[in-house]
């Protein structure tokens, strides 16, 4: 009945470099101190926000290559994608680089999609070094999917704030750094949500589907991971995911969180949290990879979700399909034995059952990141 969706990498490709760049609002958010570069203003010195998004992607790709301490000529392939029509930010950014380019569209799940494909190619020893990148910009996404910026309307409480930011990483067959050990490719799942302001609810079933497939294929449980992190389900979506998984008999505990939910502080008025390709990409390429490098996290399940909607399809009455790809990142052998006291959430077996307890825990987690 079930098909195998998971690839287990025998050669364990290494993430040798990573880079993240974000906008000023994101810089003031919970992950502010971890980003490589915080822009002073949203336009990044460009004439239009689309041009700014291209420049952000270019900066991220160059930054990741520099961080990996390799030459640009060593790169075989660039895998990138974004939210705009015809993925212009990625393909236009790619014209300035002298390596092959594959454009991807997985909406907000693009980071995991690109890394899963890169891992598969490198594990098959076809290519040696691949750059993965994705990004999003609040102003370009708003104008494509919603209303003009200056329109005086109110946002519903389920709406999310598209992250202005781009992330890139370099994956190679050899080197030192966090390792890519498994990847689960997700199916497109649609549970009939048609509210374009409620992306969390539209994508949570896809996250559930991929998570179930991952645990089934790899015979792991949530307790095997230090951190299980979804991309941009937001506050509502991650609560729905916890409920959906509970219905399937799997309890997500303290080690589960959502990038979108953690991204902004409470006072930043983002309602349900962050979203967009940049949301999971910047968190992965800053916070998560840094913690994996130090050995603070040993094993992370990273599974960003994407809502594969278009305004045309929505206006024609279509519901919103979602997709979710998962990758497993493990720290390098050399830091495997490092014990850091702050990893208190490791191997927590008792999941709190009350909802109030859960919310207080996620707030605590936010505080932990703040420090």
């Amino acid at each position: 009945m079930y098909t195998n969706q998971t690839v287990i990498f025998k050669n364990k490709p290494v993430i040798i470099g990573s880079y993240s760049i974000v906008g000023p609002k994101e810089g003031k958010g919970n992950f502010g101190q971890y980003f490589n570069y915080v822009m002073k203003d949203d336009s990044f010195g460009e004439k239009s926000y689309e041009k700014a998004e291209m420049k952000m992607l270019k900066t991220a790709i160059v930054g990741a290559i520099e961080d990996a301490k390799i030459k640009a000529s060593d790169v075989n392939l660039l895998l990138a994608g974004d939210l705009l029509n015809q993925i212009i930010s990625s393909s236009y950014a790619a014209r300035d680089f002298d390596f092959a380019f594959l454009g991807l569209f997985g909406a907000c799940s693009t980071m995991a999609e690109s890394m899963a494909i890169a891992g598969s190619i490198i594990d098959g020893k076809e290519f040696d070094t691949i750059v993965c990148s994705t990004g999003s910009h609040f102003s370009t996404a708003e104008r494509q999917f919603r209303f003009p910026l200056e329109l005086g309307n109110q946002r519903p409480p389920t709406s999310q704030w598209t992250v202005t930011g781009a992330g890139a990483c370099v994956i190679s067959s050899k080197g030192k750094g966090p390792r890519l050990t498994m990847a689960t490719f997700g199916k497109v799942v649609d549970f009939g949500i048609n509210d374009v302001n409620d992306m969390g609810a539209a994508m949570a079933p896809a996250a559930m589907d991929t998570m179930l497939a991952h645990f089934r294929d790899t015979k792991t449980t949530p307790d095997d991971y230090d951190l299980i992190v979804t991309g941009d389900l937001g506050k509502l979506g991650s609560e729905i995911l916890i409920d959906l998984m509970e219905d399937q008999g799997i309890k997500l505990g303290l080690n589960y969180n959502d990038c979108g939910q953690m991204y902004y502080t409470r006072n930043q008025n983002t309602l349900s949290g962050g979203s967009g390709c940049g949301c999971s990409a910047t968190v992965l390429n800053s916070y998560i990879i840094k913690k994996l490098r130090t050995g603070e996290y040993k094993k992370v399940l990273f599974m960003p979700t994407g809502a594969l909607m278009s305004t045309t399809a929505s206006q024609q009455g279509e519901t919103i399909p979602g997709v979710c790809h998962a990758i497993v990142l493990e720290c390098d052998e050399s830091v495997k034995d490092v014990k850091i006291s702050t990893t208190s959430n490791r191997n927590v077996k008792n999941t709190p059952s009350k909802k109030s307890e859960r919310t207080s825990i996620s707030q605590k987690n936010q505080g932990h990141i703040n420090n």
């Binding site: 004439k47 209303f147 910026l149 200056e150 005086g152 949500i193 509502l236």
Partner: protein, 152 residues
Amino acid sequence: MDKHMEAKKRNQAYNRYVQAKIPKTKPWPSLFNSFLVGGIICCIGQGINDLILLWFPNMAEQSAWAYTLIVLIFIASFLTGIGVYDKIGKFAGGGSIVPITGFSNSITSPAVEFKHEGIIYGICVKMFTIAGPVIVSGVVASFIIGVIYLFI
């Protein structure tokens, strides 16, 4: 076919569950804010009207109304251009959408947004993306009323 029905049932159940879970906006504070701001905008309009009549005592009242509207539309466009009107709108909701200032905002904001696409394909084409339906329904309504008026 069975599978299709099953999926439909599952989707309905999921939609019900999500609807129950969605955080609701509180009606009373939102209503208070929108009445407050809407009322202030109307007071400003009345003030402008009175000033015009004070400065130009010979003006007909109807032309004073027209000038009042022009001034209000200009103020709203200006506030949209400098990025203030959307902040008012975030607080007021319907209070700043319903008056003519909201209409002005809905035309100015896409014009500002799409200026990079050029004057014709950007500003001229996109200007009415939000206000367009309002104009169409206004024209249709006035046509219907006109026809009714013709026969009574």
